[in-house]
């Protein structure tokens, strides 16, 4: 019998796993660092070193101090709490709200759909930082309003996503089957439509959390973010950015990198999930 011929390879999916694992690990590390920050540094995140501002890295201050004389390393660690917290919470709220909207709009259709979608349009057409300031003014200052901002900015996308999905699921015969088995509208939505419409959301959410962090950083840069001296990467970057040109890299490069890595973590995770989902579809 003649020798065997090998045709191509089926590596698809392996890289997805790599992405997912890497992303998860990154996030896990950052999260742990944030949680156990106090064990990793002697300084408090907003504790001021009377001995001076903008101290270069060295003993005592592994990453030096910033313009306020606060320990960069300590802030770097603690910042994870706010950043991850706000981003994740914000996206979570967005997912819930958006999904609910999309579900109702998509399933009921008709004028309900039209109205809801127009509302979504309005929100989506609204520039982020104006929403941010508005929400800040309405909800009041603090992390709460930032979560609200992130949610308000992202919810519309989910509403669309879920709606589109629902509109296809709605036509599937298992929904028809459920309806004809006498299930109530809510029952159908809850037990059949919802669970089968969430796949894209699962994929997008992590990516979104990453972008949420960038939005957060942007808001801090505009002075609409967390209030000083709270430790938050975006705020640290914008406070330190003037130092870069002065060769004082330590105030803003580390937070910049950490933010990058953290967002990257989310992106990798999302990318991985997406790849997996696509591989499934084929």
């Amino acid at each position: 019998m003649s020798e065997t011929v090998v045709v191509g390879t089926a590596r698809a999916g392996r890289f997805a796993t790599v992405l997912i694992v890497t992303g998860s690990v990154i996030l896990a590390v950052v999260a742990l660092a944030a949680v156990f920050a106090p064990l990793l540094t002697g300084w408090g995140p907003t504790e001021i070193d009377p001995l001076g501002t903008l101290v270069p890295p060295g003993p005592g201050h592994p990453l030096g101090t910033d313009a306020n004389g606060m320990d960069v390393w300590s802030r770097l660690l603690h910042a994870g709490r706010l950043d991850l917290g706000i981003a994740v919470a914000g996206v979570a709220v967005a997912v819930v709200a958006g999904t609910a909207l999309g579900l109702v709009a998509g399933y009921l259709g008709g004028w309900v759909d039209d109205v809801l979608m127009r509302v979504v349009d309005v929100f989506q057409a609204f520039p982020t930082f104006i929403l941010a300031l508005a929400v800040a003014a309405l909800v009041g200052n603090g992390t709460g309003n930032l979560i609200a901002v992130i949610a308000a900015v992202n919810a519309p996308a989910y509403a669309r996503l879920v709606r589109a999905e629902v509109r296809t699921v709605r036509e599937s015969s298992f929904v028809a089957a459920s309806v004809t088995s006498g299930a109530s509208t809510f029952g159908v939505l809850w037990r059949h439509v919802l669970p089968n419409s969430l796949t894209p959301v699962r994929v997008i959410a992590p990516l979104n959390a990453g972008w949420a962090m960038l939005t957060l950083a942007g808001l801090s840069f505009l002075g609409l973010g967390v209030t000083v001296p709270a430790a938050e990467w975006g705020a640290m970057i914008s406070l330190g950015s003037p130092d870069v040109v002065a060769g004082r890299w330590w105030t803003s490069v580390p937070p910049g990198l950490v933010l990058l890595i953290c967002v990257l973590g989310f992106s990798l995770l999302g990318e991985g999930l997406q790849e997996r989902a696509e591989a499934k579809r084929r």
């Binding site: 001021i48 002075g223 209030t227 000083v228 914008s238 950015s241 003037p242 040109v245």
Partner: protein, 531 residues
């Protein structure tokens, strides 16, 4: 933090400034005249409007006004140990020929210089002065407000005698008249203006909002909205010290670090918007020099004496003891500021440290708090969201005050909100930084320490102070005034409506070839001296 630039630096720029950078950067300089054909200046923001009467109070605008409006009288220049400084005590006629009082100091006569021309070719005449002042009164904005201090409230108090003579009749004599007029006597080209006036818009504000005024030391050659303004020296100006530099190019560069880079690369000659941090470095940078001089800009913490917890004088004292003065000067101003020991600024006639006990002393702070019968108090600390300097200060004060038992929550506010809150007089504790345009205690009282004074954010009122203020109107003798001011400072030291943090020096990073910088006491650069 994002710099918006622009902001309010009225008579006393109590840091209503949205961007304190331009202000912080104006500084006196060693004089070494060297003519350059053109200069490039970077500012943080474009001016909001060309019309000084109606709208637009940002420092870029105010600075430009000083150079493009014909100000009939202005401060003279004196040399204080090597630094050229505007002398607020010496008011000299510039576009005018003379400005003289009657015997009773109530009627002031303004004589105009002949042959002063606007860009339109029209000559500057008494009619223009009259029209401009009527416009100011109609505007009911700044100048109208200032004039109140010297008893000018009605248009008909300003009379045209002949083409070159105008009379100002005040309700009462005032020691402040020359200085007030120095900042108010700017003139529009009324002939040109009338062409653009309509019934709906009798004062042609539509037109002036868009079109730069003319006839000053410089004329605006080209203005690119939001980007750049090119000034050309007004060669037709017949008076003393005309503009030295034929063209000055003012470009808008919001990012401080961006300005710094361009200055170092020699793409700009003067950076009006670099951060305190950068100044320190630029001192060492090649090709760049930092002109610096003491100034009378004051950084203070103003407490509302009518709002808890600061309605208790002991709490106010506690805070005054809890502020780490030296650390602030060292960390935030890089040592480039003078400790102030009185609400009255250093260099102001009558400054006196006697009876001002407050230094950084946490024990005393705690004691004071105990005396107030409160183990700990809490309050909000308001400051300008986009003012890095104030933000650092707030952070520092917060951390120290906490040690003394005063819990401060930081409240950075955007310009609009700040203005509103201040106007409502509802801010328990706020950071203010600014300087008096009129270097006189009476003026300081008038604007910020007597009952109902517009800048009296402390809602402070003390019968004795009121009495002294009344007295000062008519007291003209310097020595006598000095007595009063000593008294004032004792009272204020006891009542502590303000904690005076320090008096930072002016620092202005410029290219080495820049010369002729004159330190403006009002914080508004006079570009005509630059060479």
């Amino acid at each position: 933090m994002l710099q918006l630039g622009g902001g309010v630096a009225l008579l006393l720029a109590t840091g209503c400034a949205a961007g304190s950078k331009p202000q912080g950067a104006n500084a006196p300089s060693g004089t070494a005249p060297a003519a350059a054909s053109s200069l490039r200046i970077a500012v943080s923001s474009y001016l909001s409007s060309w019309d000084q009467d109606f709208v637009g109070f940002d420092l870029t605008a105010l600075m430009l006004y000083k150079n493009v409006y014909p100000y009939l009288i202005d401060y003279g220049v004196t040399d204080v140990n090597g630094a050229q400084i505007l002398d607020t005590t010496n008011i000299t006629p510039t576009f005018a020929e003379s400005f003289t009082p009657s015997a009773d100091q109530k009627v002031w006569t303004l004589k105009l210089r002949k042959g002063v021309k606007f860009a339109s070719g029209n000559e500057l005449k008494a009619a223009d002065v009259k029209w401009s002042k009527d416009r100011a009164f109609a505007a009911q904005a700044n100048v109208a407000g200032v004039y109140r201090v010297i008893g000018l409230t009605e248009p008909d108090q300003v009379k045209v005698v002949d083409d070159y003579t105008v009379e100002f009749t005040q309700a009462f004599p005032s020691a402040l008249t020359p200085q007030i007029q120095a900042i108010s006597l700017y003139v529009f080209d009324s002939v040109e203006a009338r062409k653009h006036a309509t019934d709906a818009d009798p004062w042609a504000k539509e037109w002036f909002a868009k079109n730069p005024p003319t006839g000053g030391y410089f004329n605006v050659e080209k203005a690119t909205q939001g980007q750049e303004i090119v000034l050309a020296a007004n060669t037709g100006y017949p008076g003393p010290d005309p503009a030295k530099t034929p063209t000055i190019r003012i470009s808008v560069v919001p990012a401080a670090s961006n300005q710094r880079l361009q200055l170092q690369n020699g793409d700009i000659d003067i950076a009006l918007g670099v951060s305190k941090r950068d100044v320190a470095d630029l001192k060492k940078a090649p090709g760049v020099k930092v002109v610096s001089a003491p100034s009378n800009q004051q950084v203070t913490l103003q407490m509302s004496v009518t709002t808890a917890p600061f309605d208790d004088v002991n709490v106010r004292k506690a805070l005054a003891y809890a502020v780490p003065y030296e650390q602030i000067i060292a960390n935030i101003y890089g040592g480039d500021a003078r400790p102030a020991k009185s609400p009255v600024p250093l260099d102001m006639p009558g400054y006196d440290e006697r009876g001002y006990p407050y230094t950084y002393d946490l024990d005393k702070a705690k004691a004071a708090l105990a005396a107030a019968g409160k183990p700990s108090v809490s309050s909000e600390l308001v400051f300008e969201a986009d003012n890095e300097e104030q933000q650092q200060l707030a952070v520092l004060v917060q951390s120290e005050a906490r040690k003394a038992g005063i819990e401060l929550t930081l409240a950075p506010l955007d310009p609009a909100t700040l203005a509103e809150r201040r106007q409502k007089r509802s801010v328990p504790l706020q950071i203010t930084s600014g300087q008096l345009w009129v270097n006189d205690v009476e003026y300081m009282l008038a604007t910020s320490l007597v009952k109902g004074a517009n800048l009296n954010y402390s809602n402070y009122s003390n019968p004795e102070i009121e009495k002294i203020y009344e007295e000062s109107h008519t007291t003209v003798d310097a020595a006598a005034r000095g007595e009063l001011w000593t008294k004032v400072q004792e009272i204020l030291a006891a009542d502590v409506p303000w904690v005076v943090v320090c008096q930072p020096n002016f620092n202005l990073p410029v290219r080495e070839n820049v010369a002729g910088w004159v330190q403006p006491m009002d914080g508004l650069a006079r570009l005509r001296f630059l060479g």
